[in-house]
């Protein structure tokens, strides 16, 4: 006798404690195993790309803060790299060093949040998350000292940065950098060899190398699958060719590898900041551009390595003060296209772990 079963549809809805933000997944389940998944997003669409066509290039900087609100400095950085490529503006050295320091601090902070929330989704009741937040508070205090805000910085300008750092910034940064590696080691010891973590994350959500490349994944998701591709080494922008650092690569592409890649990248960022702190010299911080900034007609695509992947801006200018087309390549959305492939055939508990390991921010996905 054959038992007849039916599949049912479960809505991991927009309000859910563990989808990071308003993201909806319609899952078709057979018992506990997922048969099909359909993502629905757009709950946070604000029309930023259209609004940006009505404002000038320097006023558009405030929109870039709000795209990926957890990593605003790297959004600012990507935008100024694109505009400078479009208009051919040179940036003084001290400004470049400050940009690199801010971008790497932002990368550490974003990876801390990603790792903390992954562990929260696995069920560790907020204890590792609060430890991560404690370290992130120290980084946010430094940002507060420089530009006055903790979340939407609006710090970089076309042709440099907006203000020089105060004198107490570099000693405080040195104290922070000296204390961070010890903390990351302690954190690794808390959960890296924990058997429950290993059992939950190894061989779960494996993304093979060919699939990762064909879905255009980027960032830690791509590097964990074994592809050694980092824009800071492959297409160096700013001053990254002057620092020596390594690019950590995983082997299998499961959740555990993505987690290890993010922690290894934090160590590499700390070493980049140390080298930048030694090499920085006093100097100018912004080249003067005209008050009404009108780049020549043309188009440009500038990209950087953000904490979530390749973050790029495509700008088309028609010679006036406002851009004609302003488009952003969202790393979270393009990484999410691989999600359906990863979720077929796993159980619900694993689905949340895989979703957390891709590390999205809905502000980028919906723009």
């Amino acid at each position: 006798m054959v038992l007849k079963t039916e599949t049912f549809m479960l809505n991991a809805g927009p309000q859910h404690p563990s989808t990071h933000g308003v993201f909806r997944m319609r899952l078709t389940l057979d018992g506990e195993v997922i048969q099909d998944m359909e993502p629905v997003f757009g709950y946070l669409h604000r029309g930023i790309e259209k609004l940006a066509e009505g404002l000038s290039y320097s006023q558009n900087m405030v929109f870039t803060d709000r795209l990926d609100y957890l990593a605003s400095m790297t959004n600012n950085h990507a935008y100024v790299v694109s505009v400078e490529k479009l208009a051919g503006v040179q940036v003084p050295e001290r400004a470049e060093y400050l940009r690199v320091i801010m971008a790497e601090l932002m990368r550490i902070s974003s990876h801390l949040m990603a790792v903390g929330f992954l562990l929260n989704d696995l069920g560790a009741f907020m204890t590792p998350l609060l430890y991560m937040y404690r370290e992130r508070e120290k980084i946010l205090d430094l940002f507060d000292m420089v530009c006055g805000q903790r979340l939407t910085y609006n710090y970089m300008r076309i042709g440099g940065v907006s203000q020089d750092v105060p004198e107490e910034f570099l000693p405080a940064l040195k104290r922070l950098i000296d204390s961070l590696p010890r903390f990351i080691e302690e954190y690794e010891q808390l959960l890296m060899t924990n058997e429950i973590m290993l059992v939950r994350t190894k061989d779960v959500g494996t993304l093979s190398k060919e699939l990762a490349i064909s879905y255009s994944a980027a960032g830690p998701v791509l590097r964990a699958s074994g592809v050694k591709w980092d824009i800071r080494k492959a297409d160096p922008y700013s001053l990254y060719s002057r620092f020596n650092f390594e690019v950590p690569v995983g082997t299998k592409g499961d959740v555990y590898d993505r987690y290890r890649v993010r922690i290894a990248e934090m160590h590499q960022s700390i070493s980049i900041i140390k080298q930048a702190m030694e090499q920085i010299q006093p100097g100018d911080i912004q080249t003067k551009i005209s008050r009404i900034f009108k780049p020549a007609k043309g188009e440009a695509y500038g990209h950087i390595e953000g904490p979530k992947g390749e973050l790029g801006f495509y700008l088309v200018s028609d010679g006036s003060a406002n851009p004609y087309r302003w488009h952003m390549r969202p790393p979270s959305l393009i990484n999410l296209t691989a999600l359906r492939e990863l979720l077929i055939g796993v159980k619900i508990a694993d689905a949340m772990a895989i979703f957390g390991s891709i590390d999205i921010c809905v502000g980028e996905v919906d723009r």
Binding site: P17, G123, V199, G345, V346
Partner: protein
């Protein structure tokens, strides 16, 4: 019926204090039932407060400290808040099941306290089949959870109810087998007798049994790392999802009442109950109960949760064989070496425990693979 009449006097004859009370036997029973009830509810609220403060210290923050001095009135504020909320019943839900589920869940949890000795001989009823009564009663509470899951007309609750049946039923078996080990050493099923027979606490004589019982008990009461059922994050609080108001308060209290019950049982079976120097026995009992609960909180603060098939694999492949081997070794020790000094047995048991844990972790897998569709 005649069987029933024969059992009742035998059960009630073993209660020591009944005969010299004014009003006789039934007045004594009712007054102590009321006192026990108040004690259980009060201890549940104290445990809520204790857990929130201790978990906050693990997370380097201060817990609730605004309401009352040191935040001691926080559970009162929580209870008042829950009680004044609107009682919502979902549209297509089965009304009778929805109503009866919290009651079916909390009643067995409170009934366990009837046989736990707070002082020498001071339990509500000193049954001479005490531990058997506890094993029987504590398996009834799963019915309440399944009724809640089915009667809520919600898919999340249904998934949680299916998981709860699987988990609770499979962890009953190692629990019962390990209890037999304790009973073999003490020679009696009565809870007071087990405490009196412990010249050295049984945690030293049966370390493997303590570990197995601790993990199985945490799985019974749905605490981390086995709290798949109310995993906020995947199934958003499981069977609790459609409850609000007084019924939710009952579920919430059930969880903490079961935690107190498990701590009290572990104290009685393994840590020596009310025994101890200098202080009055009731105080020793409370100290030990809080210590066991602090251990449970420590585990909750650190570990992530397991997936449901890993939980089942752990029960059937690790805990059940180890429980059977524990029983075998205990039986051999009791039969063949009854006069050997107990300290020699302590050392021997620790060595055997170490060897068994190492062997099991080398050779057994506890999880399945990705399901092919």
């Amino acid at each position: 019926m005649s069987v029933f009449h024969n059992i009742l006097p035998a059960v009630f004859d073993s209660a020591p204090l009944a005969s010299d009370w004014p009003g006789g036997f039934w007045a004594h029973m009712i007054i102590f039932i009321v006192i026990l009830f108040i004690f259980v509810i009060f201890m549940a609220m104290a445990f809520i407060y204790f857990e929130r403060r201790v978990i906050s210290r693990f997370q380097i923050r201060i817990g609730p400290n605004r309401i009352g001095p040191f935040g001691l009135l926080q559970p009162v504020a929580d209870v008042i808040k829950i009680l004044i909320k609107e009682d919502i019943v979902p549209f297509n839900a089965d009304k009778i099941l929805h109503l009866l589920a919290p009651m079916a869940a909390i009643t067995p949890a409170i009934m366990v306290f009837a046989v736990i000795p707070f002082m020498n001989g001071a339990s509500l009823v000193d049954l001479n089949i005490g531990i058997l009564y506890i094993v029987a009663i504590s398996s009834v509470s799963v019915i309440g959870l399944v009724m809640a899951g089915w009667g809520s007309n919600n898919k999340y609750a249904l998934i949680s109810a299916m998981r709860v049946i699987a988990q609770v039923v499979s962890y009953e078996i190692p629990m019962a087998l390990v209890i037999i080990g304790v009973v073999l050493f003490s020679g009696t099923l009565s809870m007071n007798g087990i405490v009196q027979a412990q010249s050295i606490p049984y945690i030293l004589l049966q370390p493997l049994g303590f570990v197995i019982y601790f993990l199985a008990a945490m799985a019974e009461i749905n605490r981390t790392p086995f709290d798949m059922l109310e995993a906020e994050g995947e199934i958003v609080a499981g069977f609790n999802i459609e409850y609000s108001g007084f019924k939710f308060a009952l579920f919430f209290l059930t969880e903490y009442t079961e935690a107190i019950a498990i701590s009290a049982i572990i104290t009685t079976l393994y840590l020596g109950g009310w025994k101890g120097p200098f202080l009055p026995p009731v105080l020793w009992f409370l100290i030990k109960v809080f210590a066991v609960f602090a251990l449970i909180i420590w585990v909750r603060a650190t570990l992530p949760r397991l997936r449901i098939d890993q939980v089942m694999g752990f029960a059937w492949k690790c805990m059940l064989p180890l429980a059977i081997i524990n029983l075998l070794i205990t039986a051999c020790q009791v039969i063949f070496l009854p006069d050997l000094s107990q300290w020699v047995l302590v050392v021997a048991n620790f060595v055997i425990t170490g060897i068994l844990i190492v062997l099991w972790s080398r050779f057994f897998r506890i999880t399945g693979d990705k399901v092919e569709t």
